[in-house]
Amino acid sequence: MTTTDWPLWEVFVRSRRGLSHTHAGSLHAPDAELALRNARDLYTRRGEGVSLWVVPSAAITASSPDEKDPFFEPAADKPYRHPTFYEIPEGVQHL
């Protein structure tokens, strides 16, 4: 295997209708069309999906591990944000 300078792509697979696309992994490809085909070969060859997205990894803005505390910690001790203080009316389904 030689190394290439092909960009990295993130692959999202919708496993069936009604579900959202879920991150499956990443791969290298020279452009979007071939990234989609590589994704098909790498991530859906055992019938895992009905729809594929590929996104250039460089286009993703990610939160930094350094920011973990200011970002996520304040939510930990605020149980009143969880919708658990309501009486659920009878007859309401699928809540």
Partner: protein, 243 residues
């Protein structure tokens, strides 16, 4: 062992189509561990496995699949000379895929629409070969319209394999398709892909005395014997061995 001597048209057709799939599958398998990038290696392996699946169905229609694959001599194979051509560089492999997958896709689309013995297989295979064809077309356009180096190599590969393409449209006993119409559609499609790839349409002859192509009669090119030796040696060394 040679090919069954009491060949019905259906058996000789199954052998011809099955050998095409088996031999090309083996050639593509030779890329394993050698492909330019991991993603492409998986793509070629997928195509090889699709072809192997087709070969198993087709050879089983003609007899015992293992005996046919592993115990026949070179002259008993009925595959096109195109599919036995060595992988060469990646451009040669892609040119071979472009020529063959376009043919196979058009052929199976016709067989799937008919009601002959190959219709059930063709209905499944036509979807596989549509993807093989797309894969080859995508790469042909990128290599042709890529760098000076890739363009030179792709032009060279398309020209080198051109003389093997006429054989695909020779009539095969038991395959009920209009060869002339198939060829016209193949030529239009390949010419369109090469034009989009800014590649030259090769000019050499594709049929007649000076072209290659007698694989269907059991005459094969030099490298085929070596390929066959590698493919068959395990089974011949250990007859009846299983996993």
């Amino acid at each position: 062992m040679t090919a069954p001597s009491t060949d019905t048209p259906a058996v000789s057709a199954a052998l011809a189509l099955g050998d095409d799939a088996l031999v090309l599958s083996h050639r593509l398998g030779e890329w394993m561990g050698h492909a330019p990038v991991l993603e492409e290696e998986v793509a070629l392996a997928n195509i090889a496995l699709d072809l192997l699946g087709q070969a198993r169905v087709l050879l089983s229609m003609a007899g015992d699949e293992d005996e046919l694959a592993y115990l026949r001599e070179e002259r008993a194979f009925r595959n096109l000379q195109l599919v036995e051509q060595p992988n060469g560089d990646f451009a040669h492999t892609i040119a071979r895929q472009l020529y063959f997958s376009t043919y196979q896709h058009l052929l199976y689309a016709r067989l799937a629409a008919g009601d002959g013995p190959f219709a059930p297989l063709a209905a499944k295979a036509v979807k596989e070969t549509a993807y093989h064809r797309d894969h080859a077309e995508q790469w042909t356009v990128r290599l042709g319209d890529g760098t000076e180096e890739s363009r030179t190599r792709m032009n060279r590969a398309c020209a080198a394999l051109w003389r093997f393409t006429g054989e695909m449209f020779q009539p095969v006993e038991g395959v009920d398709v209009d060869g002339a119409a198939l060829e016209a559609e193949w030529l239009a499609s390949v010419a369109d892909v090469l034009r989009r790839a800014t590649l030259d349409l090769p000019e050499g002859p594709r049929s007649g005395a000076w072209t290659a192509g007698a694989g269907r009669q059991g005459l094969h090119t030099e490298s085929f014997g070596r390929m066959l030796a590698e493919m068959q040696h395990l089974h011949r060394s250990h007859p009846g061995a299983s996993w």
